[in-house]
């Protein structure tokens, strides 16, 4: 920022001081202040525009699948893994003898959607080969933790409402949230 000041000296001439510059010229300090204001305005303008440019990349409205949705009643699901909502909502509904939970179908390695292999009774990720058992617990490949489970609750009509914005994780060395309230339904 020494550049503008060098120019100021030129504007004021060699006899630059805080005295009036003569010929009805304003004081040198006034000139300096004017320059400072102009530069501050220019950089302020550019800066604000840059912030606007950054904000521009965060859309307000999204046209994505619903993240809170109903999947029917618990009697709609037999024992085991149900893949009927995989395409639409990216989830699997898993029913056990005593509880029902929803696995969010996203590999915990790098975010691909694993496939449910009925004959091998496991989930297999096509991207890097992570394998999960029917509970979504990782047992092979690079996945660092079991697949996350989505929040489930019953609404007033007895419908199962899933919320994939609220995920329950179970990472080694950290508290496991799979037995938290909302991570499963008792059936």
């Amino acid at each position: 920022m020494t550049e503008p000041f060098a120019k100021e000296a030129q504007v004021a001439g060699p006899a630059a001081s805080s005295k009036p510059a003569g010929d009805g010229q304003p004081e040198i300090n006034t000139l300096k202040m004017r320059r400072r204001i102009i530069w501050a305005s220019i950089w302020g303008f550019v800066g604000v525009n840059f912030l606007m440019f950054l904000r521009f990349f965060f859309p307000r409205t999204l046209f994505e699948p619903k993240s809170v949705f109903s999947v029917g009643t618990s009697s709609d699901f037999g024992l085991g893994v149900d893949t009927r909502f995989q395409q639409q909502y990216r989830i699997w509904v898993v029913r056990k003898p005593d509880r029902l939970f929803v696995i969010y179908a996203r590999c915990t390695h790098l975010g691909c959607t694993p496939d449910w292999k009925e004959s091998e009774n496991k989930f297999k990720c096509p991207c890097h080969g992570s394998g999960y058992d029917s509970d979504g617990i990782n047992f092979e490949g690079p996945a660092p933790r079991p697949m996350d489970r989505a929040h489930v609750e019953l609404n007033a009509q007895g419908q199962i409402v899933v919320d994939v914005n609220r995920l329950y994780t179970c990472e080694r060395g950290k508290p496991c949230h799979f037995d938290d309230e909302g991570a499963y339904l008792v059936v």
Binding site: L54, F57, F58, P59, L62, F63, E64, L110, G111, C127
Partner: protein
């Protein structure tokens, strides 16, 4: 009656005027013919015509100074150095990798622009357009494959160029700044490659972008799964990955954004950095090469200063 009297002398006058006009026209035609002949003669030496001079401005005699001028005063030639060290362009030394990289970039630009004539960056059309290009558009398969293989080749040649510059120590002073520009160009090349990956909207590209942007989740401070990200309030809906994709999933917005970064923003930025890169090559003393050598036949008298390496015409070094 009065009108008839007037008409007679008028007719004679008209005849006179007509013959005069005829003669004049004949003379003009003659002059025109002569000029045409003279002009036709000049086509034997087109470099002497006014038209030629208005375009090329200077007639150069074959002198070292004029040869340098002809390079410097031409908008296309002036990008090249007027003179270079003959050892600096030995392929065994430079591999020509920088030039090849630039050439591949030009090929990618031309084929890329042509592909844009048939490609729509939308979820409904993108993959369909790729199939259309592959199977029906005249030369579409050729263009797409030139672009695809050219992209792979450019990444390879950039690495080889960097490898050569490293091996020959050409990153050292005074070229350290240009090495940094080169690193930025490497990143831009990889980003161009990455953004182009999604555009066919096939399974390969889709999952590659899914994986690649999943890594952005783990960005420190700016990613919702990265260090200090959650503490700073990062969620899948406001972190850096969200800004890249234009959403929380790889969908229509991500495809469109990829397309714009790939076709407009990144090539423009890369072109600016390439301009600086090439300019600095010149300003830092040209392409870095081995120590200059002098042919035995060129040695006239002992020069002051360090003794140059004397080279025999066969290319063998004097011991």
């Amino acid at each position: 009656m009065a009108e008839e009297n007037k008409q007679k002398p008028n007719n004679q006058q008209e005849k006179k005027a007509l013959t005069a006009l005829l003669d004049q026209t004949k003379e003009q035609a003659k002059a025109l013919k002569q000029r045409a002949v003279e002009e036709a003669k000049t086509y034997a030496e087109p470099e002497k015509t006014q038209l030629y001079r208005s375009i090329f401005r200077v007639k150069h005699d074959d002198q070292p100074r004029n040869r340098a001028l002809s390079v410097l005063s031409n908008v296309f030639f002036h990008l090249h150095p007027a003179k270079i060290n003959r050892d600096a362009v030995r392929y065994a030394y430079t591999w020509g990798m920088g030039g090849i990289t630039f050439y591949v970039f030009l090929v990618l630009t031309v084929t890329g622009v042509l592909l844009m004539f048939y490609y729509h960056p939308t979820k409904v059309q993108a993959f369909r357009d790729i199939l259309y290009l592959e199977h029906d558009v005249p030369f579409g398969k050729l263009l797409r494959n030139m672009h695809r293989w050219g992209a792979h080749l450019m990444v390879i040649t950039v690495w080889l160029h960097m490898f050569r510059v490293f091996l020959t120590g050409s990153y050292k002073t005074p070229r350290e700044f240009n090495w940094s520009i080169g690193v930025i160009l490497l990143v831009l090349t990889l980003l161009l490659s990455f953004t182009g990956y999604l555009l066919p909207d096939d399974q390969l590209g889709f999952w590659a972008i899914t994986v690649g942007t999943s890594m952005a989740r783990a960005t420190p401070l700016l990613g919702h799964e990265g260090p200090f990200g959650p503490q700073l309030g990062m969620t899948p809906y406001n972190d850096v990955r969200f800004a890249l994709l234009g959403g929380s999933i790889v969908d229509a917005n991500a495809l469109l954004r990829s397309y714009i970064w790939h076709c407009i923003a990144l090539p423009l930025v890369a072109a600016v950095f390439m301009g600086v890169h090439f300019w600095r090559v010149r300003k830092d003393g040209g392409i870095s090469g081995p120590a200059p050598v002098v042919m035995e036949s060129e040695v006239k008298e002992p020069r002051p200063g360090p003794t140059p390496v004397i080279m025999k015409p066969s290319g063998m070094r004097e011991r």
